[in-house]
Every structure is written in structure tokens, then in C-alpha cells.
């Protein structure tokens, strides 16, 4: 089934996950959160959320601990750059290759 009967003839996206396509496949490096030093994770309460605030793709959750939606995270690394405790590390996607296959 193709898009012949799609209701529009233009590119029209609404607010919501995935309306720009599965952008997670663009990622070269994956953000990995070390919960032992992440402020909200360590304290067990709402705090910091700098990564949530800065993420341009809105893929970081405002939860304890914060989670990253890898389906849409493009791997820009802004969260890792801004994290005040350096709890986020950008790791080469190639190192997850075996894990992703399983």
C-alpha cells in the first residue's frame, strides 16, 4: 500500500513524535546517561532537567530518571554538552551494533 489515498498532496506535519520521519537512524553517536551522577536520578526527585530543556528534538523526558527516545534522537550531543555533571556521554553507534541485532 502506497500513499495514493493520503488526504494531502503536500508535506504537512503536526506536532507529535515521528512526524518528521524516524530521525533516530541519522544518529552517529548515542547519548548514554550515567544514573549514578545524573542529578534527578541520584536525588530521586525533580531537579536539573537541563538535558530536557536543551534537547532541540524534545526526545528527553522530564522524568526521574530522564530517558531518551532513541527512535527520534538524532545524536546531536547538546544534552551531553550541557549536562552540568557530565552524566551524559556520546558513544559511537557502532559499539551497539551487536546489541541492536538481538
Amino acid at each position: 500500500m502506497g500513499t495514493r489515498n493520503y488526504r494531502r498532496k503536500t508535506s504537512h506535519s503536526e506536532s507529535g513524535p515521528g512526524d518528521g520521519g524516524r530521525t533516530g537512524s541519522w544518529r552517529v553517536e548515542r547519548p548514554v546517561v550515567d544514573r549514578s551522577i545524573c542529578i534527578p536520578a541520584r536525588r530521586g526527585k525533580e531537579a536539573c532537567f537541563i538535558c530536557w530543556l536543551f534537547c532541540p528534538e524534545i526526545v528527553v523526558s522530564r522524568t526521574i530518571p530522564p530517558t531518551i527516545d532513541l527512535e527520534y534522537c538524532k545524536g546531536c550531543g547538546i544534552c551531553a554538552e550541557e549536562c552540568p555533571t557530565k552524566a551524559i556521554t556520546m558513544v559511537d553507534e557502532a559499539s551497539f551494533a551487536d546489541e541492536d541485532k538481538e
Binding site: 504537512h12 506535519s13 506536532s15 513524535p17 515521528g18 512526524d19
Partner: protein
């Protein structure tokens, strides 16, 4: 009511009658009086619209795109280098499927600077996904503007209404001014499928991936290629919409015949001169002279260049001995674009039938070089008698 006005005013009156609500244009010769007239209509309250002054043609089209996306009926106009400067947004408007109507007052493009008439500006925009309609007199200008809005809104494809600079834009001619009531009957208010809204926010034409995607509602949405294919498919289908527009227009206003072609003495003709715009009416004078010499020749005016009415054109020229194409533009490095398009259409529809006419192309009036009727007549005569001398097929060239 019959009035006498110039071509730019005819276009402005057409836009006013269509109740366009947003105008954004940057003045450029020979389009300027059209823009000034619209500005005057709005300033004096004769037209209820927003006139948005801009600093360039690129911005003019950007404003038209935004306003049309918000559901406004919009218009702009330009010429020559202004149109070239607008080019990036011109492509955007068609990709975004916005029914913008733009008058292109045909003028030569630089370098070198030249303000006079030829059609290189609009022909160079042939592949932008817009429709292109060409006018041969003032009645056609005002009528074509009105039809253009209906066609554009029905097909969600923008339309250029092209007419020759000075020859039409600045000369005065009598024409019938359509009644507002009839125009309102012909052209209902613009109701787009989607208009930008705070209650239904959307991102329009953001990065669209090569592949299809599942949208937020779980439906499979187009990738870039599907959107572009649909533009091509709808442009081809718009030949039917153009015919419908003509039928509706004739019912309401009692004017107009064939939607694509304007033949003059073609029925029994063995040879046909083909062109677009005001040149086709000048060619009628040449044809009358040659008919008096016993040469069976006619003139075919092409009103619609994109979408290209290939089938109608091939049917009309089937069995003719020769078609002589006169153009005020060319695809540099080859030949006139219309001659190429015509040959492709004739080959597609008539190859192997024994009814394939010979095609000969001439370039005339580049940068406003005077096209003298006597010279045009002798060129046509020589082409028909197959006596055209070798060398450039540019009429009036003095090398």
C-alpha cells in the same frame, strides 16, 4: 461595459474583480504601473486588500506564499530579472501547492541590461511547476486573470499570466470590463483544504525525507518523491481544469472558444505559423498577405504553454505540411523551447502516421528588436517555399 485602458490596468482590474485580499509586489519595468494601480485601488478603498510593501521580488513571493498558506487570495507581478530573483520562491510556491496568480509582464533578461520586450523571463521559468498562460490582447489579459484564479484554486497549482511588455502592458486598447456580479458567480471565495490556524497548528513543507513515513495519526504519508509526482500528475490533469474553466467562463461571460489554441485560417491551411502572445496577432497580417498570394497558411496562437497541450496541438497540426514556430525566447545552446516542445509532441502523437509536419523555428524580437511585418512575412514565405537561406534563423539580426 467597454473601456479603453492599457494592459497593466486591465490586469489590475482583473485582480480587483477577483477580490484578491493580499498583494505583495516589487516594482520593475514594465510591470510597475500594474503594481501602482493595485496600490492605488487599495489606498482609495476600491479594493479591500492588504498591500504589503517588500524590498525584493524574492520577498514578494515569500509574502504571497505565507498569505496563501493562511488562506488568502493573493497576487503579485513582476518582469525579467525580478522574476529571476524570485526563482527560488517560485519553485517553492508550486511545491507547496499554493494557488497564487502572478502576472509576468514579459521583458528581456540581463546581461546586458535591456528593458524591452521578449519572453526569455517566463520561458526560463518553464520547469518550475507553475502553469503559464499567454495573452495576445487586453481582453485576454483581464479574462485570463479571472480564469487563472479559478484554475489555480481548483488544481492547487500557481499560475503565471504572461503578456508582452509595452506591446500590451503600455498600449491602450478597448476591452469589455466584466461585471463584478458575474465574476463573483464565476469565482467563489477561496476555501483551501487547510489554512494556517492556531487551533490546528502544522508545520508545512519542512524537511521531507526521501522515503514515505507514518504520520502522527498512524497514516502512511508521502515522501518527497510522491509529493513531486502528484504535482506533475495534477499539472497534466489541469489541462482538463483549464478546459472546464473556459466552459464556465463562456457560459457566464459569452466569450472565448478553444481553451488552449487560438487558430486563424488554419482549417484549410497547408502551413501553420505558431507562436505565443501578441506576435500571433501580428502574424495574422502576414498570413493575410500570403493568402492574397495564394499560399494556404494560417496562424496558431498557443494560449497555454504549461501544462503543454501536446495532444490538442498535435491534433490541430496533423497532416499540415509544415509548422513554422516564431519565438521571442530560446533555450540557449539549442533552439526555441516551444519548437523543441512542439517537435516532441508531434513525434509522440504523429510519428509513423504519414501526417507528421515539418517544423522550422525562428527567433525574433529578442530584447525588443523591432519585428517588422514585411520581414516577418518574407521569412514566413521563404520558410514555406523552403528557400530559407542557411545561417542564423534569427529575424532582424544585423550581423
Amino acid at each position: 461595459m467597454h473601456i479603453i485602458e492599457n494592459g497593466n490596468v486591465a490586469a489590475a482590474m482583473g485582480i480587483r474583480l477577483c477580490r484578491a485580499t493580499v498583494i505583495a509586489a516589487y516594482p520593475i519595468t514594465p510591470q510597475t504601473p500594474l503594481t501602482e494601480k493595485l496600490s492605488e485601488y487599495i489606498d482609495s478603498g476600491q479594493m479591500k486588500a492588504e498591500y504589503i510593501p517588500v524590498e525584493s521580488e524574492h520577498s514578494a513571493m515569500a509574502v504571497c506564499i505565507a498569505a496563501a498558506s493562511a488562506g488568502a487570495r493573493v497576487s503579485t507581478a513582476t518582469s525579467a530579472n525580478g522574476l529571476l530573483y524570485m526563482h527560488e520562491q517560485v519553485q517553492w510556491a508550486s511545491g507547496a501547492r499554493l494557488p497564487i496568480v502572478m502576472c509576468v509582464v514579459n521583458r528581456a533578461v540581463g546581461a546586458p541590461w535591456n528593458i524591452w520586450n521578449d519572453q526569455q523571463d517566463s520561458i526560463s521559468q518553464r520547469d518550475t511547476g507553475w502553469m503559464q498562460l499567454y495573452c495576445a490582447d487586453h481582453q485576454q489579459i483581464i479574462d485570463t486573470v479571472i480564469k487563472a484564479y479559478w484554475i489555480a484554486e481548483k488544481s492547487s497549482i500557481p499560475v503565471m499570466v504572461c503578456y508582452d511588455g509595452y506591446i500590451l502592458s503600455h498600449t491602450y486598447m478597448p476591452f469589455e470590463l466584466p461585471d463584478q456580479d458575474k465574476v463573483d458567480l464565476f469565482l467563489p471565495p477561496f476555501r483551501p483544504d487547510y489554512a494556517l490556524s492556531t487551533t490546528e497548528p502544522a508545520n508545512l513543507n519542512t524537511v521531507t525525507l526521501p522515503d514515505t513515513r507514518v504520520d502522527v495519526h498512524g497514516e502512511l504519508a508521502h515522501g518527497y518523491m510522491e509529493i513531486r509526482y502528484l504535482l506533475q500528475e495534477d499539472l497534466r490533469n489541469s489541462l482538463g481544469i483549464i478546459a472546464q474553466a473556459q466552459e464556465r467562463f463562456s457560459d457566464i461571460f459569452g466569450r472565448g472558444a478553444d481553451p488552449y489554441l487560438e487558430p486563424y485560417l488554419c482549417e484549410d491551411a497547408r502551413y501553420v505559423a505558431l507562436g505565443m502572445g501578441s506576435l500571433t496577432y501580428q502574424l495574422r497580417v502576414c498570413v493575410d498577405a500570403l493568402r492574397a498570394e495564394g499560399i494556404k497558411v494560417g496562424v496558431m496562437g498557443l494560449r497555454v504553454y504549461r501544462p503543454f497541450p501536446d495532444e490538442a496541438l498535435a491534433a490541430a497540426l496533423k497532416g499540415k505540411k509544415g509548422v513554422i514556430v516564431f519565438e521571442k525566447a530560446l533555450s540557449y545552446g539549442y533552439e526555441g523551447a516551444l519548437a523543441s516542445d512542439l517537435k516532441a509532441a508531434l513525434y509522440e502523437w504523429l510519428a509513423g502516421t504519414g501526417a507528421l509536419p515539418r517544423v522550422r523555428g525562428f527567433i525574433a524580437g529578442i530584447g525588443g528588436r523591432d519585428i517588422r511585418t514585411a520581414e516577418l512575412t518574407s521569412t514566413l514565405r521563404e520558410a514555406i517555399l523552403d528557400k530559407t537561406p542557411a545561417g542564423p534563423s534569427w529575424i532582424g539580426l544585423n550581423l
